[in-house]
């Protein structure tokens, strides 16, 4: 090893010798040596030791075939590229090549490493790679692209606008793999661009259950923020209104109207709540917490209870999880005791809990305390006071104090209990008790002078400064209740003043001043002595206080008016302190966040906005399934009604994103066609302005076409290429939903002419139909008919119908098949003696009406009748509807035959040709009395139209034929007399 060190010019150093070693291994030809070297280098990196001078040797191996070696080189590159920027650039071309690799894992890892190399010069390359990867076929690569967005953003925030474009594209991705990562990128790069979420909101809600768990957490947090900006508050503010009901009575009308309006939850709001609920059962605690906070911030108050159980379940998890969950429960339990009260016992403290867990549990128990459960809680708290963990015992005493102030019923009990604790051997316990008692006594000092006396007696044995100071303050404040003890305590203090802590000294000065004012005869000298001691104290504050007090209480010529008020200043009744939870103000942060845990805003915390007073336009979330059709025409056509507007608006957006140049060119040609068509029409219908492509007008012109049966025009259209017709139709549908029935009727005309393209169109129309009818129903609610006529009309007499008769009747019910249809009820009865089969309406409709046929009736038995309903669209005209009623009669097999005559020889010859596959035989067993040839003859002939050919053989009786396709019948009588 020595010569190696000598060779290197750098000063000898132990790592360098080692690294020389590694360098040689990396430069060898053997793969295994290289791998070994890389493994050792990774070991160095892991230990935090420097290996950066090996960079040139390592970077050479970036294109290695060995995948493990390659990965380790990646690890190294990402770690040191920042420090060796120039050399790192050598590897870039390798990654660029790998980005085109057919293996998705290699593409993805190349992007991962490329984007992790924090070298500003490659930003354009990264940008390009990200854009390409965002459209990759593999969702895994797209996921990596989403991660790379964040990396590039932190490297160069100037790329924000371009990155937002990529995010927008990836947000549309339907893969569950991508969703979480892209939302993460969104949160990091552009959390304020809430408009990007609108269109994807419903998709995200629906995908949520299938997204991987980490993505779920991120998406749920994002959606919580989103929902708070988009929906109105589900929390009825009844309580607030109750409080100042008098005020609201005279208040502006507007508010009252607002309140009286019942709250209806936005369906999208409900969708979010519904789709997150199952995630409460997730094994991932972060997911459960995320859903809980979502419910806390978004759900109506009465639905909150479902998160309780899940949160309590999390308490069984790891210590750290417990810590975070308990913190959040503590915040919740302040506002809503009822949520956790049934689970109170889950918060009982175990001696094995960590201190911070114990304190949090204590906090929650205190929050949960009410009149009903206080005795149970106090009993529990008493056992904690005796805990070995003194910090916890002290916290328990604080908690008892809080219970005592919050629930007046137990104030005395608590106070007595705390007084008992004053004789505890442990100093922290005693001191904490004194402090708490002091606070409690402030609420009702007159009743508790004996406690104050007791504390005065204890004063000598208490050494904790805070406790001593508290007692002194109590003495001073209530010196009138303990006139004998207070001067004595002051006397003792005068003796030990010099050796006391500052806080005790301050209170001694206070006590002296108060006693001087109330009992100057006994304490004048003592006070002066103490004030003199304070005057020369080392502490600035104490000297200051002493000077102030002296001026205030000892009247002299300088002090003027102030000293007259000394008594009122010093002895003013002071409000009792409110013992509050430490978690009181934490609810300003979103639950489950780091900021909430630390109770201070952390970097990158996104504020949860207040509910908007009025919900923003909810239509922004509507996503159209239609993605066809040309934009230009749509842009031109300005629908008059607002109800339609939001459809077309959203389409416009879609179009702008989706349509390529090719699309628009084709649609513009089609536009001109349809325009010319409408021009022609408008001439006919006496419309003056032809250039206006108002859809309302189109509808009318179309209607006119229908009504007047203007064949030429229609033919004009029919001779257009099918593609264009299809597109034209689509346009109508999209601009004018409610005119769809016309378009439908319209399309029926073409079925014969341009089948292929219209077939798919019809399917599409059918799909559209649902949406449209729904829309119409919302806007125009049909009412029930007032009177339904019972009279039926004859449609088909049984004589003309050859046994089938039909009657029809208008039911006046809204037609279930379509909004513009009139429902008809047909009663079909069979008065013949044969069953009628397959009764249906012919598909060939002679007139333009759209008819919803009833389902074909398979079989109608003789004398039976059946009632069916159908819908006919009369196009709001009185034109008669024509349709053909088809009835089929299935004939018996035997009736299809025709007898012919032939000789027996011919018969056998012909029959010989039809053997094998064409042969069929069956055996019929007959009773002996029927076996005579006549009777068999008669029976066979009655079933089938057959001819008889006399046979020479005795047992063979009949053969006969059908004319067109000869069929040979051979009836062989086997006289098996058994």
């Amino acid at each position: 090893r020595l010569p190696k060190t000598a060779r290197s010019n750098t000063p000898p150093h132990i790592y360098i010798t080692m690294n020389e070693d590694l360098k040689e291994m990396l430069e060898s030809n053997k793969e295994s040596l290289k791998l070994e070297a890389m493994k050792r280098i990774v070991g160095l990196i892991a230990k935090g030791k420097n290996a950066y001078e090996l960079f040139p040797a390592v970077v050479k191996n970036v294109a290695s075939k060995n995948i493990e070696l390659k990965k380790l080189v990646y690890v190294y590159l990402v770690r040191y590229a920042e420090e060796q920027q120039d050399l790192a650039l050598l590897s870039i071309s390798t990654f660029q090549r790998a980005l085109k690799d057919p293996n998705q894992l290699i593409r993805a890892s190349a992007l991962r490493v490329l984007s992790s190399i924090r070298v500003p010069i490659i930003v354009p390359i990264m940008m390009l790679a990200i854009k390409e990867a965002a459209t990759d076929l593999s969702p895994y690569v797209r996921k990596t692209a989403a991660h790379a967005i964040q990396k590039l953003y932190s490297l160069d925030p100037d790329q924000k606008e371009h990155l937002i474009e990529v995010i927008e594209k990836l947000l549309k991705d339907k893969s569950t793999l991508v969703a979480g990562s892209v939302v993460m990128a969104f949160e990091e790069v552009c959390p304020d661009r809430i408009d990007l979420i609108h269109k994807n909101y419903r998709k995200l809600c629906n995908l949520l259950v299938d997204v991987e768990e980490w993505g779920q957490v991120v998406i749920i947090h994002m959606l919580t923020r989103y929902a708070r900006t988009q929906f109105v508050s589900p929390w009825r503010e009844d309580a607030v209104f109750d409080e100042n009901s008098e005020k609201t009575f005279y208040d502006s009308e507007g508010r009252r109207v607002d309140q009286s309006k019942p709250y209806i939850m936005d369906p999208d709001h409900r969708l979010l709540l519904r789709n997150t609920k199952p995630l409460l059962q997730s094994r991932n605690t972060a997911v459960v917490m995320a859903v809980s906070q979502l419910y806390w911030h978004l759900a109506p108050k009465h639905e909150l209870s479902i998160i309780t159980k899940s949160l309590v379940r999390l308490l069984r998890s790891h210590r750290e999880v417990q810590y975070i969950v308990l913190q959040n429960i503590a915040t919740m339990s302040i506002q809503r005791k009822g949520m956790f009260e049934p689970f109170m016992k889950s918060f009982y403290v175990r001696s094995t809990d960590a201190t911070h867990i114990k304190t949090l549990k204590l906090e929650i128990l205190t929050n949960l305390a009410n009149e009903a459960n206080i005795s149970t809680i106090l009993r529990e708290l008493q056992t904690y006071v005796k805990s070995q963990d003194k910090a916890f015992a002290a916290a328990t005493i604080q908690a008892i104090g809080r219970c005592a102030t919050n629930i007046s019923e137990v104030t005395d009990t608590c106070l007595n209990g705390l007084v008992l604790l004053l004789s505890n051997r442990d100093e922290t316990v005693v001191a904490e008790s004194v402090v708490v008692i002091k606070k409690l006594l402030q609420t009702q000092p007159s009743q508790h002078s004996d406690i104050i006396k007791h504390m005065a007696k204890l004063f000598d044995s208490i050494t904790v400064p805070m406790a001593r100071a508290s007692i002194l303050w109590l003495m001073g404040e209530y010196c009138e209740h303990v006139p004998k003890n207070a001067p004595d305590v002051l006397r003792k203090m005068a003796k030990t003043f010099i050796s006391e802590e500052d806080i005790v000294k301050l209170q001694t000065v206070n006590l002296a001043a108060k006693l001087y004012l109330s009992n100057s005869k006994q304490t004048k000298l003592l006070t002066q002595y103490i004030l003199n001691l304070g005057k020369y104290d080392q502490n600035y504050d104490i000297r200051d206080r002493t000077r102030f007090i002296r001026q205030l209480i000892v009247p002299n010529e300088k002090s003027g008016a102030l000293s007259r008020y000394a008594r009122r200043i010093l002895m003013a009744p002071k409000p009792a302190p409110v013992l509050q939870s430490a978690f009181k103000d934490r609810d300003r942060f979103q639950l489950g966040t780091l900021s909430h845990t630390l109770n201070s805003q952390s970097n990158g915390y996104l504020e949860l906005s207040d509910w908007p007073a009025v919900a923003p336009d909810q239509s922004v979330r509507i996503v159209e399934v239609v993605e066809l059709a040309g934009a230009p025409l749509l842009g031109k056509s300005k629908p008059g009604k607002s109800a339609e507007k939001f459809y077309s608006d959203s389409e416009e957006e879609e179009e702008e994103e989706g349509s390529s140049s090719e699309d628009s060119s084709s649609s513009s040609s089609e536009e001109s066609e349809s325009e010319s068509e409408s021009e022609e029409n408008s001439d006919d219908s006496n419309k003056s302005s032809s250039s206006e492509s108002d859809s309302e007008k189109k509808k009318k012109t179309l209607k006119n076409k229908k009504l007047q049966q203007q064949k030429p025009d229609i033919l004009n259209i029919t001779y257009l290429p099918p593609q264009i017709i299809q597109k034209a139709l689509l346009l109508f549908i999209m601009t004018k939903f409610f005119s769809i029935h016309i378009v439908l009727a319209f399309s029926n005309q073409f079925v014969a002419n341009c089948r292929c393209s219209l077939l798919c169109l019809c399917v599409f129309l059918a799909c559209q139909f649902d949406a449209v009818s729904w829309h119409v129903r919302v806007s125009l609610q049909a009412s029930f008919p007032v009177f339904v006529p019972e009279t039926s009309h004859e449609l088909l007499h049984r004589m003309t119908g050859k046994g089938l008769s039909a009657q029809y009747r208008f039911t006046r019910q809204p037609c279930i098949y379509g909004n513009s249809m009139v429902s008809l009820q047909l009663t079909l009865s069979n008065s013949s003696d044969q069953a009628l089969e397959n009764i249906h309406i012919s598909e060939k409709s002679s007139t333009g009406q759209n008819i919803h046929r009833f389902n074909a009736i398979e079989r109608l038995e003789p004398q039976a009748s059946v009632t069916v309903s159908m819908g006919v669209d009369f196009n709001d005209s009185t034109q008669a509807a024509n349709f053909q009623l088809c009835v089929s009669i299935q004939p018996a097999v035997g009736e299809l035959l025709l007898p012919i005559t032939m000789t027996e020889a011919d018969f056998t010859k012909e029959q010989g040709k039809l053997l094998g596959m064409n042969e069929s035989s069956a055996t019929i067993t007959m009773t002996p009395e029927n076996i005579s040839s006549q009777s068999v003859n008669r029976k066979v002939v009655s079933v089938a139209n057959l001819g008889v050919i006399p046979s020479s053989q005795e047992n063979i009786h009949r053969r006969c034929l059908n004319l067109t396709k000869p069929t040979f019948w051979n009836v062989i009588k086997k006289t098996n007399c058994s």
């Binding site: 070991g43 892991a46 293996n103 996921k143 991660h147 990396k151 059962q281 995320a290 056992t383």
Partner: protein, 428 residues
């Protein structure tokens, strides 16, 4: 999200670091060491520590601190859950998660960490996927690898990563198809001095070991599903079926996994299998005390209680214990002040008893604090809640699997409080 990870052992040595974004100096851990020192016990270290520029979120597991560095707002549970997942992955790969195994497998650890996070956001945490990307070490494989130079790293994207069921890989094949389920219940209880239940609940898990070929679709049903108060499932379980039919329907991951955990709350009556009679007293004078503990069966449903261990946390002043046990062995650790009595199997005919004297620090006052008594036990073939698996059906595959269900009851956080001290005055 997660910027860096530092692994620190109990002695305060930082033995591994990994950065997912730019490098953060390990000096950031000084804030952690400060908190560690202040906390005395490792358990008392606060999980979230704020430093001027970063936030440290840590977990303590298997005597290792996993300290992660965070720079911006993130749900803390997200990080905590992830760190535990890392620890579990190590355990899965190396058999145990300890400083030695991590140091021995540092390259695999690094490769794993690289795959698990990308830019601080979890990428692949499902053990099935990870195992396809990076094969766990075995002696045989490492030997083969050194000879042939082949690698431990998968070359293609694991099939699970892209499918709707990322937890299962395609093309699993076994000659013996078997599915075993362990219903493990733990009793969490707090008893007061007299043995009355203050609080008790049952926490259960169903651990599964499923080795089935192909894509089996399993349905597990219970005799008494109503017992289950609150459940949480492995992602493979179809929640909708549970909601509507109370059956557990799932396509299982391959190998060992936790199918579900459940909770039977305090509202139901929880059977307490044993009772403990104890009398620990200290004399006012003489710096000594007396201890007498007896254990007996209470509601064992006719099963034997095994692995019975009683642990007493003694007050600080107790120096030593001079005791005699009728069964099992006892040990008093004067440093941690823990008295551990390992009883073993509980014999109902001859109840075990531990008796003797305690000696205290001379001159110290009689301790006032409560010791507490923790009990550990195990009952085979019994689910104390009475939960019973009804049947397991398999769809989607033709073969007939071996099926088995095992029940075990354990003591979870089972504690008896010794509320009051009996004041005994010595008469000399």
């Amino acid at each position: 999200m997660i910027h860096s990870l530092f692994l620190i052992n109990n002695a305060g040595d930082l033995f591994l670091e990994k950065h997912w974004k730019s490098v953060i100096s390990r000096s950031v851990c000084d804030y952690f060491f400060e908190a560690r020192e202040k906390a005395v016990e490792p358990d008392n270290v606060p999980p979230v520590i704020r430093t001027p520029h970063h936030y440290l979120i840590n977990i303590y597991r298997e005597k290792i601190f996993f300290v992660s560095v965070i720079q911006t707002e993130v749900p803390p549970l997200f990080v905590i859950e992830f760190l535990h997942r890392v620890a579990e992955t190590f355990q899965d790969y190396f058999g145990e998660c300890s400083e030695t195994t991590i140091k021995d497998n540092v390259v695999i650890v690094y490769e794993l960490l690289e795959e698990m996070l990308d830019n601080g956001f979890p990428l692949a945490t499902e053990s099935n996927i990870l195992k396809e990307l990076i094969r766990p070490p075995t002696i045989l494989r490492s030997m083969v690898n050194t000879i042939t130079g082949s690698s431990n790293v998968g070359e293609t994207l694991p099939t699970g990563q892209l499918s709707n069921i990322p937890w299962r890989r395609a093309g699993v094949k076994y000659t013996n198809n078997e599915a075993y389920f362990d219903v493990v219940e733990e009793i969490d209880a707090i008893l007061d001095k007299s043995g009355t239940t203050v609080f008790a609940e049952i926490q259960g898990v169903i651990d599964a070991c499923v080795k089935l070929s192909g894509m089996p679709d399993l349905t597990l049903s219970f005799m008494n599903p109503r017992l289950l108060d609150d459940v949480s499932f492995h992602p493979c379980v179809r929640y909708k079926r549970w909601e509507s039919e109370r059956v557990i329907s799932f396509i299982p991951p391959d190998g060992n996994f936790q199918l579900m955990s459940y909770h039977i709350s305090a509202q139901n009556l929880v059977a307490i299998p044993i009772y403990v009679k104890q009398n620990i007293s200290f004399f006012e004078t003489g710096s000594s005390g007396r201890l007498d503990i007896a254990v007996g069966p209470k509601q064992t449903m006719g099963k034997t209680v095994e692995c019975l261990v009683v642990t007493v946390h003694m007050p600080k002043v107790v120096l030593s214990a001079n005791l005699s046990a009728t069964q099992g062995t006892y040990n008093y650790d004067p440093v941690t002040k823990i008295l551990l009595w390992d009883i073993g199997k509980l014999n109902p005919q001859k109840l075990p008893n531990l008796k003797g004297s305690l000696s205290l620090q001379s001159g110290a006052p009689k301790p006032e604090e409560n010791p507490s008594l923790n009990i550990d036990l195990k009952i085979q073939q019994l689910a104390i809640s009475g939960l019973k698996v009804n049947r397991l059906d398999m769809y989607g595959e033709k073969y007939k699997p071996f099926k088995g269900v095992k029940y075990v009851t354990k003591a979870g956080k089972f504690q008896q409080r010794l509320s009051e001290w009996l004041l005994v005055h010595t008469e000399v």
